[in-house]
Symmetry: C2
Subunit: 349 residues, 2 copies
DNA sequence: CTGTTAGCGCCTTCAG
DNA sequence: CTGAAGGCGCTAACAG
């Protein structure tokens, strides 16, 4: 069994040059749409390119130009609704410019983040898009020092200034909380993620602001911080409802937590026992199944991805002032009719 | 505003060589763990590498070796649970070997698939993992002809033989349908995807087999093919239930369709009006919210990704016979208790 | 408008 | 065990 042969060497620029009776420089110029080539030769070259089935070797090109037309993405998990939506929209935005995505997971670990950045550095990606795993980012410094554009998405880190594309988490949480208050609820619980994560922290702030401005107290017994995962939502909900005098209304920090909390209610038969009401961050395809949700905060993930991609491209092009740029996108508050529920907006209703 | 400066040129093998007082060849040998270097020099070289903060330029390396340690992935959509789970597991498997993932979306289009393959070819990826957008794959031929390993995942195409990693779709559907039959249902509807997609087709076959072996008729009026998306499930469910004499039990082809169908039931108040029961492919974090689901077929997506990655690596290494290899993984039938519902297995219960 | 000439950073025979 | 030298495929001055 013959081992490890590489892909067929392929046609090079030289063979095209020979076939077209020109120099490699000319072929290169045609390939790069350099205007100073006579239309005739250009045409002839293009014919040879087609006939020989020439495909440019981007690796060789990158070695020379120091540009790979590749953007690296590091996320705490690839298997998350947020990341996949983001990747899809970045891909759409970037593919038009011939850029591609090199993705990997940091597995929610700082040390893996470092390793991944090393990988990116060695591969000469043109820019890195990072969804931080934690609140700390000092270990990004060596990478950033290399001069490669670096943009944070979704979450901020507290010890580093860098480009960032985020949503208005505090505003979204405030809106949702206000809506519950306007609905007449005076006591509202909070189901949250760790305050170590900027999104969770900001959403908590928005929640407390809305409570304060309405003169309502935040009851410590009914504020729970956990992880941002399904299990945490389930547990937090269980704990709070186990306490006497639990509120009827809750603000929930994200979709996964929301799924967990909803599942607890369904498991334990609260659907019939009480009139629990949620306001929650995130709108997902399965959101119509979240029965206790009256208000949800929809993030413009598509735009988040597009803006991120754009900012990365601008940095690569050097067409933007060097000061770190922080982009905050607005959220949209959505009312879910109690009954009947409707399918998400791109469907019917 | 100074435009388009690249990342800082970085330390090269030459500078390391000079600092260590050896030749570049020796440094290269040390970097590649070539045994024929004296331990002393090796140590000295490694010190210099550390002190100078040398990072290998993989692009230059790739130009020479014709290997990029990168695997390209093309999927119809990046924003799908299936793709993301797959990517996560491939990443986990590959990162240990220094491989990375270059991903892009074909947007469910054959022509985009072609473009993406061109991109991959130019970038000299070591292998391509393809989730086909349609049932056709003749346009993969030119790429495969280059000699780059090519493995299909999840779906087969009807006009091309190639490596493939799949699940036993027919078997899973058969099991689920049998379970409904064993529960006493004699009339079972089918909510499906287009038969143009191999997964949907195979699942339909499994369904019909189970019905046939039980001597039950497949009623055409209660078989619906659509896309594999949420909206399609909603519509199909609506149509079927609008017909007089609709069955109580349904087999559903995948998670998205399942979400759509479930949502229809909730929207229209069927939750109270009837005892609709589902058996469905796919198990997801939000599955506990799918209230009508009694049986679900869990796909081993993690293993699918791991096996795919392994096969790709084996092909790259040339350590496996050249005949196309088709791997079929078994599915697991899961019973969902009607009440109370439980959180998915990695949670509690 | 076009060709010549150097490399980009690394690996890899081939000599020593 | 180690060094010298050539080249992977392409681009970018610099001449003409």
């Amino acid at each position: 069994m013959m081992g490890g042969e590489k892909a067929a060497p392929g046609v090079t620029i030289r063979e095209v040059a020979k076939a077209a009776g020109v120099s490699t420089a000319t072929v290169s110029r045609v390939l790069n749409a350099d205007p100073r080539v006579s239309p005739d030769t250009a045409r002839r070259v293009r014919e040879c390119v087609a006939e020989l089935g020439y495909k440019m070797n981007q690796v060789a090109r990158s070695l020379k130009t120091r540009a790979t037309r590749t953007i690296g993405v590091v996320a705490p998990r690839l298997a998350s609704d947020f990341f996949m939506l983001l990747a899809e929209s970045m891909d759409r935005e970037l593919s038009a410019y011939g850029y591609g995505l090199f993705v990997c997971s940091s597995r929610e670990s700082v040390s893996e983040e470092e390793q991944r950045l090393q990988l990116m550095a060695e591969r000469l990606v043109d820019a890195v898009v990072m969804i931080p795993a934690t609140d700390r980012g000092t270990h990004y410094r060596p990478f950033i020092g290399r001069g490669t554009p670096f943009v944070l998405v979704d979450r901020l880190v507290s010890d580093l200034e860098a480009d960032a594309v985020l949503v208005d988490n505090a505003g979204g949480a405030r809106d949702a909380t206000r809506a519950l208050i306007a609905d007449g609820y005076r006591r509202i619980g909070f189901l949250g993620g760790s305050l170590e994560v900027s999104t969770a922290r900001e959403r908590y702030e928005g929640f407390t602001e809305a409570m304060a401005e309405a003169g309502l107290a935040v009851e410590e017994d009914f504020v729970r911080f956990g992880s941002l995962h399904v299990e945490s939502g389930y547990l937090s909900m269980a704990e709070m409802l186990a306490r006497p005098g639990a509120p009827e209304a809750y603000f929930i920090v994200n979709a996964d937590t929301h799924v967990g909390a909803t599942n607890y209610l369904m498991t334990e038969g609260w659907a019939s026992r009480g009139r629990i009401v949620f306001a929650s961050f995130d709108e997902m395809p399965y959101s119509p199944l979240l029965q206790f949700c009256r208000w949800s905060v929809s993030q413009p993930i598509d735009e988040l991805g597009a803006r991120t991609a754009r900012l990365a491209l601008d940095r690569i092009g050097g067409t933007v002032p060097p000061e770190p740029e922080i982009i905050r996108l607005g959220t949209k508050l959505i009312r879910h009719d109690v009954r009947p529920r409707t399918l998400r907006s791109d469907g019917f209703d």
